[in-house]
Symmetry: D2
């Protein structure tokens, strides 16, 4: 039986759950999972309901809309794999991890292509029979390079773009083309050490724990809404290079965890914060 | 405004949430938090709803009962501090941590007495102005000692008994007097190293991580439903004594976390497993 | 038998360990633990050796100095409890935790007094029979208040000052009086969220993990060398106030862990980083 | 310059470090890292020294032997990649992770072949251009199947055998052929849930944390010396199948961490415990 996911994001008021579940009852939906959250500061309500059955999704969406206040966002999602393009540079660990997971259907996604500003990772991608595009930045200014990347992306009509250690900062103009659809893994425990060389920064500050952060990309530098974070311990014997090596595992795991949450429609945005129903 | 907690535990069927929230709507309850879980294997439904307001608790309970299937357990709890007696032996770290938290109102509980089979901790308890009872086991068999402890306990009519490193095994007969109301902290990551000397066992097995487990006490030895667990890393340089020292912090934190969950009515039992709404 | 700790911090060169251990051999020291670290970037050597026995500490120190290069720092420490004054404001959890540990001799220290700019914690300190000084900042500018605190501190000749949620920033002039002898617990995962209101900052940034950092206080704001850090997970349901509550446990554990390391002479400073021999 | 690793494991006595470092000084070794540990219960000394240079390894080994007590084990290792055969069954996550790491030279090892009792993983191994042997157990008793596996193994003369989710128990006779050279990843936090179905066992016990354990294989069932362990949190909403899914990441990371330690010669055995110099 197909799975459906109902996503609601609306001003809070009394009786919402009762009214929404009333619609689902009338349609005899078999609810598999249900989560709600009320942001009391903002008076806002979030709900994710997963149900199975041969239902009339359009009718449910219409009826739910009818019982909600104005300004509600309602969306019915299915569990068809999301179309994804991965951007990378030269480091293989995050990309390799995604390719293995993808090969075995782990992330509810279909990687339709990999784009890199370097050629090195082409061999790895080729092993998995996926298109690889080397879009070099050599001799191009940022705008020209981004135009070339956007052109290649456009051919694949991706729902999501995953930056798997893509080492170039995207311009706001680029990000605007794929709002809330670009996910980056940053190799630090944000907001500490945003920008370049986070392990070097971490080493110099003498921290005892390093981390990785998966986040939506917005117009700022490493300032987008955080989806997942994790950390590992380090000590005085770790050079910046040792930290980079040790950090690889946490980077790839955090990125995969974030993608799983996004592709399973578990993440809502509330300003610059995420509401996540695990 | 007073806070009320509605706790429901019943056979699963379609429409439960809709019907239950219907009752709450009619009573104009201001829902603060709401959590549901369906155990699909057992076809069982669990729900915890926290709401505030000057409501008629009895009426709500009756009306909710009327919309639920037979065999439902329904309970209205309030947030009045739980009456607690702490049992300890000689180690001060868990007891001391509870006394500090209690002094500052952290755990939604009122410690009405401390009982120990040794005298050592009397001074610590006295600092906080609480009754301390030294019920020695010297010269008594287990049954006689338990009878003496039960007699002292009985005077305080506790809702919960907390074993804060109480180093004597309770008999099934004792446990039956306070079913699902005795909470123990065991100094291992159960089910590894149940019984005596867990750090010695952990040392001999050469584990790289040790832990602590807070659980309800049942008739078996360290086999009751687990409420909370946590771990810390150790290495070859830790002797069993070093592990015991390092383990103290995780023991006291895990015990306090479990008590907070229980006293805030966040824990359901489902066979030997716990359903916890955090 | 008394325990001695030899601490060496010197330019690196070939044969240091051989020469140093030669001196210890001649004195028949019974080495209990030995750790070395070479910072290759700076060409610097650090060594901590713990040994027991009735030895002539002065002679060993002299002989070790004779086999080391110029510019070496050599120190013999014993395990006599360190004299400590604790500064706090109104929050009891870190102070309470230290008082319990101190009562049971856990931290190789003797708390000789507690000073606060508020009166609230006097009752707690009094339970443990320790001097409490309320040095109010009301009506005083920072310099005048610090002078009053310094005057009180001076009476106790502390080796270390512990800031157990002391909510006032110390001036560089104050810090200079106790260089590398003031230890603070900051309620964030530094360098993220330095300064005031770290939980509010963390909430607004939408992080998924919060932490605590124990560090030496230097002239900057939360910029001193980090001794210990730890983290806990949070999610969208945590308000800033919830984070503050959840963070208490990690704050008190991290502070205690750092103090144990410092008071057992396990921490070397190397610029703004710490070398820690656990 | 080549790197050399001197590994010493001998009865403890005064002056060992002084004498050993004396030999290294005379040979002008450039020590890169040095670690010692004394197991005081057993009176045993362990030392790992890593140094670089064009040295006469044989002479150093002889001279070190001459200054050590009888019964010493001395070994000079180099950093030539270890020859490894991986055994797997059908799950791809650990094997896939090793293949990616191997492709990029991460683990100081050379995977010379993969053997499986099923055919499924052949395609994955083929992508990386490595030999894959399907040695089916169908229609064979354990002894006959093991003989077939041993025959295939023998052709590759591996230094180490890695069980990357190989789901068959090896007989003591098999293990004896490769003593302390077989490394397994077990999908539980050993010693909890040894044997079959650990996630099912974990689910039934209602634990709040699950883990993975990498260990040397000995004649018992999941009883060999533990090299690395790690854990993740679970809750009541995780079925046994969910735990298995969530556990994959920790399994592959723990296995890789253990292999890195072993292949860099950082692990000593002391009875059933490991001494690990990280």
């Amino acid at each position: 039986m197909p799975t459906h996911i109902l996503l609601i994001d609306c001003p809070d008021e009394t009786g919402l759950v009762h009214r929404i579940t009333g619609v689902l009852c009338r349609h005899d939906c078999n609810i598999v999972a249900n989560s709600e959250f009320v942001d009391r500061d903002k008076g806002h309500f979030f709900m994710r309901t997963e149900f199975s059955g041969e239902i009339d999704a359009g009718a449910i969406e219409r009826e739910v809309r009818a019982v909600l206040p104005g300004g509600s966002a309602i969306r019915m999602a299915d569990d068809v794999p999301r179309r994804v393009v991965v951007l990378a540079t030269t480091e293989p660990h995050c990309l390799g991890d995604l390719l293995i997971r993808h090969e075995y259907g782990e992330l509810n996604s279909k990687i339709v292509a990999v784009i890199s500003n370097h050629a090195e990772l082409g061999g790895l991608v080729g092993k998995f029979g996926l298109p690889f595009h080397h879009v070099s930045h050599e001799g191009l200014d940022r705008a020209a390079h981004e135009a070339a990347v956007l052109e290649t992306l456009g051919r694949y009509a991706p729902e999501y773009i995953v930056l798997a250690k893509y080492m170039r900062v995207l311009s706001p103009a680029f990000v605007e083309k794929y709002p809330q659809r670009i996910i980056n893994i940053h190799h630090s425990f944000l907001p500490a050490f945003a920008g370049a060389g986070p392990y070097r920064q971490a080493f110099e500050r003498g921290v005892k724990i390093i981390g990785a952060t998966a986040h939506y990309v917005n117009a700022g530098l490493d300032t987008g809404p955080i989806i997942a974070q994790d950390v590992i311990s380090v000590n005085h014997s770790h050079t910046a290079a040792d930290m980079a090596l040790a950090g690889r595992d946490v980077e790839k795991i955090v990125l995969a965890r974030a993608l799983k949450l996004v592709f399973e429609e578990r993440v809502f945005l509330s300003g610059n914060r995420t509401i996540i129903f695990e």
